[in-house]
């Protein structure tokens, strides 16, 4: 069976796309630019979650211990603690829940402050994921964009966007499509952390609220889509695992960059789902 023409599919949606998909049972795979280091944006919250779990498994962190997130901790962002007005006292694992399900930037930075950036990267090294790097917190991401552009959000001028460090893999949070599906495979196979922690991670990824990217390619009651998005100017990503009613499990990572700097591009979001569907359909043939 010929591989689907993913490049043409991405092109028709006005984006450049990279993809890696793998059948978690057979190891069969399909890809487009699978080993290209690419900016991950909020998808860095997945390795952060993994390292958080490993530290709780090791007894270094108590997942139920509470922290208070106040005005000084608040980071720019549209959801969760970022958007709230008052101090919140919350457990570490519930910060993790907000960080994944809503992509809550404030929750992510609060967790990153306790887990540690170097610890996350050391964990990634341990799994041989050397292109997957966490270099910036959410606060770093927003501050560097303002510095690079010389003004705050939104960033719609193509020349401003071209200057953003957050979109330059060696200086940004980055990963390759293949390393991203590898990390999801570790979570789905109970190898990323303890079995109990991996089950918690799968549950949280399954409760992510966004329906417009990966999930849009599988609009069926009996297909599970678990994942994590990543979004920055012209960048739309999502990676996750698709589970079919017959037990098939497919890790898929899709990275895109749009030509247009417009913020609302439903076709660019939807092509992430369409491409993932074509890739999974190919793996099932």
């Amino acid at each position: 069976m010929n591989e689907p023409d993913l490049a043409a599919l991405f092109g028709a949606a006005g984006v450049t796309g990279w993809l890696h998909a793998t059948d978690l049972r057979s190891g069969r795979e399909i890809g487009l630019g699978s080993d290209e280091p690419l900016p991950t944006a909020s998808m860095f919250k997945v390795p952060l979650m993994v390292e958080f779990c490993r530290q709780t498994d090791a007894g270094l962190l108590d997942p139920a211990s509470r922290v208070t997130v106040g005005a000084a901790d608040r980071v720019t962002g549209p959801t969760g603690l970022c958007a709230m007005l008052d101090d919140v006292t919350i457990s570490l694992r519930d910060l993790g829940h907000l960080m994944i399900t809503l992509s809550d930037n404030t929750a992510a930075d609060a967790l990153l402050a306790r887990v540690g950036r170097e610890e996350v990267n050391a964990m990634l090294d341990g799994f041989g994921l050397r292109e997957t790097r966490v270099r910036q917190s959410c606060r770093d991401i927003y501050e560097s964009m303002a510095e690079d552009a010389g003004h705050g959000w939104p960033y719609l001028d193509p020349e401003d966007v071209a200057r953003l460090r957050v979109l330059d893999p060696p200086r940004a949070n980055s990963a390759t499509p293949r390393e991203t599906t590898t990390l999801f495979g570790l979570i789905w196979r109970d190898q990323a952390a303890s079995a109990e922690s991996c089950a918690w991670m799968r549950n949280v990824l399954n409760l992510q609220v966004w329906p417009h990217r990966l999930a849009s390619g599988f609009p069926y009651d009996d297909v599970e889509v678990s994942g994590k998005t990543g979004t920055l100017p012209t960048l739309r990503n999502e990676a996750g695992v698709i589970e079919y009613p017959d037990g098939g499990q497919y890790a898929v990572a899709v990275f895109t960059r749009s030509v247009s700097t417009a913020l609302n591009q439903p076709r660019a979001d939807a092509v992430i789902g369409t491409a993932a569907r074509m890739a999974v359909d190919h793996l099932r043939r």
Binding site: M1, T101, N206, L207, Q208, V209, P211, A215, P219, Y220, D221, D222, V223, E224, V225, Y244, P245, D246, D281, H282, R284, R285
Partner: protein, 305 residues
């Protein structure tokens, strides 16, 4: 009047206690059935049913008669059976008209190999009509679709076969490796006649509805012309047909479930039933009925938001 025939009608109404249901079982319309029961009552000079209440009830006389009537009907059947044995042994078989030609051929051949002295005469009859034909003795054994409700009939082992979807080769879905029922939205559906396959109709359409596919129109027929023309899709076993593409259905939600059915068990019926199970497994890719898998429903948070 044909007393045995009238007693047969009476026993079926007595079992169903519902003239409509009994008529369906007998493969006839309700008014003639009611008329015949009335004639039987006139003949015997008693009322057999109390029709005044919301539900039909047997009268005392009816209750007394029902056991005897069954006995007489069974004896009459046995008589026919004996005569049939005497006249060179044929086995009259009913098969659904949409059963693949190759499968029917394999059934006939398989039976002949094992029962060389019995002549098998197959006829294409939809399930509902087979029920009537079995009840009346017009056929000896049938291959029927489930779910089926037919008190008085006995069934062989139920075999299942997951169905795929048949699409015109120009259908945009034909490029996909597999198709979800929800993907079929906007397409009309071709099915066997509802009157002939009421159980299949109800079960299939309910499953479609559950999975997000409500066909704008359900066409009834056995040919594939509408599919070829791109006017409808159909469910069926994997097949090669020029201009038509078969694709598996994601999650295998639609299954064909069949078994043999008979009313009076004879050696020939039992022999055919065994051959049918073997042939349907080997030639039609059917498998033993397993427990229905628990349907998984995704918990996407947007569904409750």
């Amino acid at each position: 009047m044909d007393l045995v025939r009238h007693l047969r009608y009476f026993t079926v109404v007595a079992e169903e206690l519902h003239f409509g249901n009994a008529a369906i079982r007998l493969g006839m319309a309700q008014p003639p059935l009611s008329q015949r029961i009335k004639r039987l009552e006139e003949e015997l000079g008693v009322r057999l049913f109390d029709r005044s209440a919301r539900q039909v009830r047997l009268t005392e006389a009816g209750r007394l008669l029902v056991g005897e009537a069954r006995e007489i009907v069974a004896r009459a059947d046995r008589l026919r059976e004996l005569v049939r044995h005497g006249e060179g042994r044929t086995l009259k078989l009913g098969v659904p008209p949409d059963l693949a030609a190759a499968v029917i051929a394999a059934l006939v051949e398989g039976f002949r190999a094992n029962n060389p002295d019995v002549r098998l005469t197959p006829a294409e009859i939809w399930t509902a009509d087979q029920v009537a034909a079995l009840t009346e003795g017009a056929i000896d054994v049938g291959i029927v679709r489930h779910p089926i409700s037919a008190p008085g009939l006995r069934f062989g082992q139920v075999l299942v076969q997951p169905q795929g979807v048949l699409l015109a080769e120009g259908d945009p879905l034909a490029v996909a490796g597999e198709v979800h029922l929800a993907d079929l939205a906007g397409r009309e559906l071709l099915m066997p006649p509802k009157e002939g396959e009421p159980g299949l109709h109800a079960a299939t359409l309910a499953e479609c509805r559950r999975h997000g596919y409500v066909p704008a129109q359900v066409h009834q027929g056995a040919g594939l012309g509408l599919v070829l023309a791109g006017a409808a899709v159909a469910f069926g076993a994997r097949m090669d047909h020029p201009g038509i593409v078969w694709r598996p259905l994601l999650g295998s939600p639609i299954s064909s479930r069949v078994s043999t059915a008979w009313r009076v068990e004879t050696d020939a019926v039992a022999g055919f039933s065994a051959v049918a199970v073997r042939t349907l497994k080997e030639s039609a890719g059917m498998t033993d009925e397993a427990a229905a898998p628990v349907r998984h429903i995704s918990r996407r948070p947007g569904m409750l938001a």
